[in-house]
Amino acid sequence: MAEPPLERAKSPGVPELAGSVQIRHVDAGSCNGCEVEIASVFGPVYDAERYGARLVASPRHADALLVTGPVTRNMEMALRRTYEAVPEPRRVIALGDCARDCGVFAGAYGVAGAVGDVVPVDVEVPGCPPPPEAIIEALRGMTGR
């Protein structure tokens, strides 16, 4: 069941978004551990949708990119282009330790760098994988609800 709403989130959110954040998820080379957690975030238990966050299919419809995993060479250009495709104002969430600093994959031959090396990151969510509560926290910080 949905938990009672917490106290007002730490950040007032992004004022221009005002309670509505559409998210495009980009898997830049993740082990899919974070994806499992994202799935549960939007599932019945945590239900991020009640805070105004929603997953969408096209970066054109999105306000924020939810990037998981270290950025592999093959995904570097794709991530950059996805970022460019998002209309302003746009935010990037680096989800999980891999996305923040490549985690256990640091220095691997196929890894181009952390998400922050490719696109500007606004919010970081630590954890391997980050617990759903942390993800919710980050999303609420963005929607301000």
Partner: protein, 308 residues
């Protein structure tokens, strides 16, 4: 008419919000609240619009055209009051054709991008439209025989004055046909899934993948209004209770607005609840569904003779 326009324009996103809320609750979620679509729209108009390379005036004209056709339809259809100043200007045929024009605009916008998804969405939308159009026309035919005119206001008033005619097989068959058509035209399950993320199963969403910001806001708003208008039209044709007639006072109008809101919300709720329990049809099964609705409409016409 202005009142009706305002009600539709303001209420349409709320209807979508309500339907999402009902779905969320049935799926065991808390839901984003009824006003969430309005928040989404507010945010979208504050974002920047994007002109993808290689697109031109049609790409930009499509969203306003879609919204424009929907507004005209919303003004012409007897939703709140049967006495619209556009009465006699547009009848049921014109309404159906105007809705089709909106779809065409969006399909051309999708084709203009030159992406595979845009073309795919346009192609599928046109296929559905080509099969939906005949059903609408035949259902109109069936409903207008009894009244002797295709004028919407007249049909609604005639039905309201003799509610017994609603349980005739003609109404029954036409209602089934129009229900299927309404679902198909507004892109709901089982014809199309409005919340799909999988491009290959998309119809409506695939056409609008390139739109961003205010353009997208217009499209979402117009889609919500289309849904509202069609549900309202359906309610008006088959449950024309509470609709204000010519020269109604403010109280009658208020009652009409409330009745309209209740009816549409009820239909939307049924639709949303149905969507939870139903899976989307395979794309190439959709023609079967639409052929079925076409047959229903034809039978409705035939029945109006059989039992005349």
């Amino acid at each position: 008419m202005v009142l009706q326009l305002l009600v539709v324009a303001a209420g349409a996103p709320l209807l979508v919000g309500l339907m999402r809320q009902i779905r969320a609750r049935l799926e065991g979620r808390a839901g984003a609240g009824v006003r969430q679509p309005w928040r989404d729209l507010r945010k979208l108009v504050r974002k920047e619009a994007i002109a993808p390379h290689g697109t031109g005036w049609l790409f930009r004209a499509a969203p306003p055209l879609l919204a424009g056709t929907t507004l005209v339809v919303a003004a012409a259809v007897p939703l709140v009051t049967a006495d619209s100043p556009l009465d006699g200007v547009a009848d049921l045929f014109a309404v159906a054709a105007l809705l089709a024009l909106g779809s065409v605009a969006l399909a051309l916008g999708g084709l203009d991008t030159g992406t595979a998804f845009g073309g795919m969405g346009a192609s599928r939308e046109m296929t559905v439209l080509a099969l939906v159009e005949p059903t609408i026309l035949l259902a109109v035919f069936a409903l207008s025989i009894r009244v002797g005119t295709t004028d919407l206001g007249a049909i609604v008033i005639a039905t309201a004055s003799s509610p017994l005619s609603l349980i005739s097989p003609v109404s029954l068959l036409a209602a089934v046909a129009l229900a299927v058509v309404t679902i198909a035209e507004s892109g709901r399950i089982p014809v199309d899934n409005p919340s799909t993320h999988l491009e290959l199963t998309m119809i409506h969403e695939a056409m609008i993948l390139e739109y961003a910001g205010p353009d997208l806001a217009l499209i979402e708003w117009a889609s919500a209004m289309r849904l509202t208008v069609m549900l309202g039209l359906f309610a008006g044709l088959f449950a024309p209770f509470g609709i204000a007639t010519a020269g109604a006072g403010p109280i009658a109008l208020l009652v009409a607005v409330v009745a309209f809101a209740v009816k549409v919300a009820l239909l939307g709720g049924v639709l949303a609840a149905g969507e939870v329990f139903m899976a989307k049809l395979r794309l190439f099964r959709i023609p079967e569904l639409l052929a079925g609705s076409f047959l229903m409409a034809l039978l409705a016409v035939a029945a109006s003779f059989f039992l005349a």
